[in-house]
Symmetry: C2
Subunit: 381 residues, 2 copies
């Protein structure tokens, strides 16, 4: 149930769309003739527009980060635990901007958009999009809102990677980069899991080489499998054990019935509901952006050199049970920042829920994140 009267909720929110009627050339050298970005804002922009915080979403997120679209909504936005008046990202102090990234499937230009050259949806022909492209397009959105410089850019997982890329690509436009449960680049194992997810989607006969919209089909099984793989890697072995253990959903082997464990039933549910709401081509594109992310690459693989011109101060957070992007991956960012003589605060939060911990309430997590941003707000008076 929506609790619009809750003092710490941003309440009812409405997405807006920014139109960009100019060609946008991507890192892959392809050009979109125009594009839209769907976004939401929470809190008031101050007079000198110096209190804006950009929230970047992860693999399957979108612009709806906090609040409710309608009183009957069952759930608020994906990061509602962190965004609101008095919450760690405090909307009584900051004006928060959250968008659906380019290539997304929830209002921004993406594979479902009609390609003006063909009159058909882009589908799998939507150009490759990178984290650099997102930063560039996010800066264009900031321009339309009159924001020269973000007080902070914040995100978890792939969202944190955008914050890091912001600090590198647009040092004059970001004061603080908050990188949560991130990494400076994916490991071979990370890429491998993403590739399994992609193969699951692409091998679904309903995928039709990405032209499933035209075929009036949906590669539901592939998306379900992709989400199941993702989901297992977001949780920790321990948290799954505590939550499901080896509890049976149904069946009994001694009586010859098929046994189904609770964890199987849970994964089916998660996978199926995801396949109802997410676009397969966007999933492929977002996992590719994750795999490609490697800001040190243009600096001969030297992250310290990549950080040379950074002026933003950093908060780098990781979670003890996160095995997708474990604390050691955050440490790599912290170590490079220190070696580059940048300003960095870091913490590893003891939390049992694996990579998903960045989306869940946790006292120390909220204290550190909220405390850092509170200091940012106070420093600007």
């Amino acid at each position: 149930m929506v609790r619009l009267t809750d003092a710490d909720s941003v309440g009812l929110v409405e997405p807006r769309v920014a139109h960009f009627d100019q060609p946008f050339t991507l890192q892959c050298r392809e050009t979109l003739p125009r594009f839209d970005l769907t976004y939401e804002t929470y809190g008031e922009l101050n007079a000198d527009k110096s209190n804006a915080v950009l929230v970047c979403h992860a693999l399957s997120g979108d612009h709806h980060a906090a609040g409710y679209h309608a009183p009957e909504d069952a759930k608020p936005g994906w990061w509602d635990v962190c965004i609101g008046p008095g919450k760690p990202i405090d909307t009584s102090k900051f004006c928060v901007i959250a968008l659906n990234n380019l290539g997304g499937c929830n209002g921004s230009t993406g594979p479902r958009t009609i390609d003006p050259d063909t009159g058909e949806p882009y589908g799998a022909n939507f150009p490759t999009v990178t984290v650099k492209d997102w930063v560039k397009s996010q800066a264009m959105l900031a321009d339309t809102l009159g924001i020269d410089r973000f007080a902070g850019v914040v995100g978890g997982s792939l969202g944190g990677m955008q914050a890091l890329q912001w600090a590198i690509d647009l040092p004059d436009r970001i004061e603080h980069a908050l990188v949560i449960a991130g990494a400076a680049k994916l490991s071979a194992q990370n890429i491998a899991f993403n590739e399994i997810a992609r193969q699951a989607i692409q091998s679904d006969p309903e995928f039709h080489d990405g032209r499933y919209y035209q075929a009036d089909a949906v590669p539901r099984r592939g998306l379900m499998l992709a989400r199941m793989v993702g989901h297992v890697t977001y949780l920790s072995d321990d948290s799954m054990g505590v939550r499901f253990g080896r509890e049976l959903k149904s069946g009994d082997i001694e009586s010859g019935q098929d046994v189904q464990f609770q964890v199987e039933s849970y994964l089916h549910y998660q996978g199926t509901s995801f396949s109802e709401r997410f676009d397969a081509n966007t999933y492929l594109l977002m996992t590719r952006a994750l795999d490609y992310f490697d800001p040190a690459l243009e600096f001969d693989g030297d992250l310290v050199r990549a950080l040379r011109d950074v002026t933003a101060k950093f908060l780098v957070l990781s979670f003890s049970s996160d095995w997708r992007f474990p604390p050691a991956r955050s440490d790599e960012i912290v170590d490079a920042l220190i070696e580059a003589r940048k300003d960095v605060v870091s913490a590893t939060i003891e939390a049992p829920n694996g990579h998903d911990s960045f989306l869940l309430p946790n006292a120390r997590y909220f204290d550190v994140l909220g405390g850092y941003l509170d200091a940012v707000a106070r420093s600007r008076g």
Copy 2:
């Protein structure tokens, strides 16, 4: 190339088939009217038949554990590094028996076998098989060979679980149980990965509800995905990093070409070659046997009680980088054995290759395993 002249190879070997023309009732209460087990032996059985060692295979293994079937074979059996004259499982001291388990796809009765009731392959109707069923059928194989009591039962992963079940179910017939990279039961995360593999197979349209033989089809994509998921969990993040890193196989994002990382290409190759050689229904059945394995279940979940009547001595080995069945899972077995006042030697081997380490050469692994078995051989004079 086959090196049949290698002094430590068992050389050319030939599979044999044991026929059991009697009904065999499984734990699920279904009955097979008759069944075959395909097996190989390496080394000589001594006069009093007291030097037999049973090698149990894991998920995708079979009876071909050592040596070569033909001089032109590209590879020897799956555990050739461990089995041979002078190797840790020393065939100059022991007579090693390796079989393809019931439900397998390499000669033993399984889903591909014709069901005498229908005249068609069992397919997905092959009854549920458990580790207990395997132990029972392996004992029947021992009977045909005149072996009352194994000097040792040894296996890695699911193979080690069979060794543990042997010690519990048939205490009079096993002197030593060697449990390598095993666990007393699967965790929710383990089950989740297996379920993803099953869903991948079952959702392949070529699966035809398990009747793909009749449809002259093979669910290759599903098997490929299943193997890819399995493979990533067998390796460690570090070992994948060392082996593949983020090396590109092809492509360049700046020139708009699709990028393929080496690790993706490797996984495709592994998945595809597996799908050429393995049976999908067997994969489903074997992963189910893994999930169901829980010898403590009939003792109210109390592993110590389950071990009460055990007389076998144990060697329990785990590998430092194994995150599928990490050392802590072996420790659970060791702790229960100690509490049950049984004889147990255990070690965690420092090894970089994850769960796969049990199949790879490693000096300390071989020293511990070989040393333990050497003491077994010496104790019997």
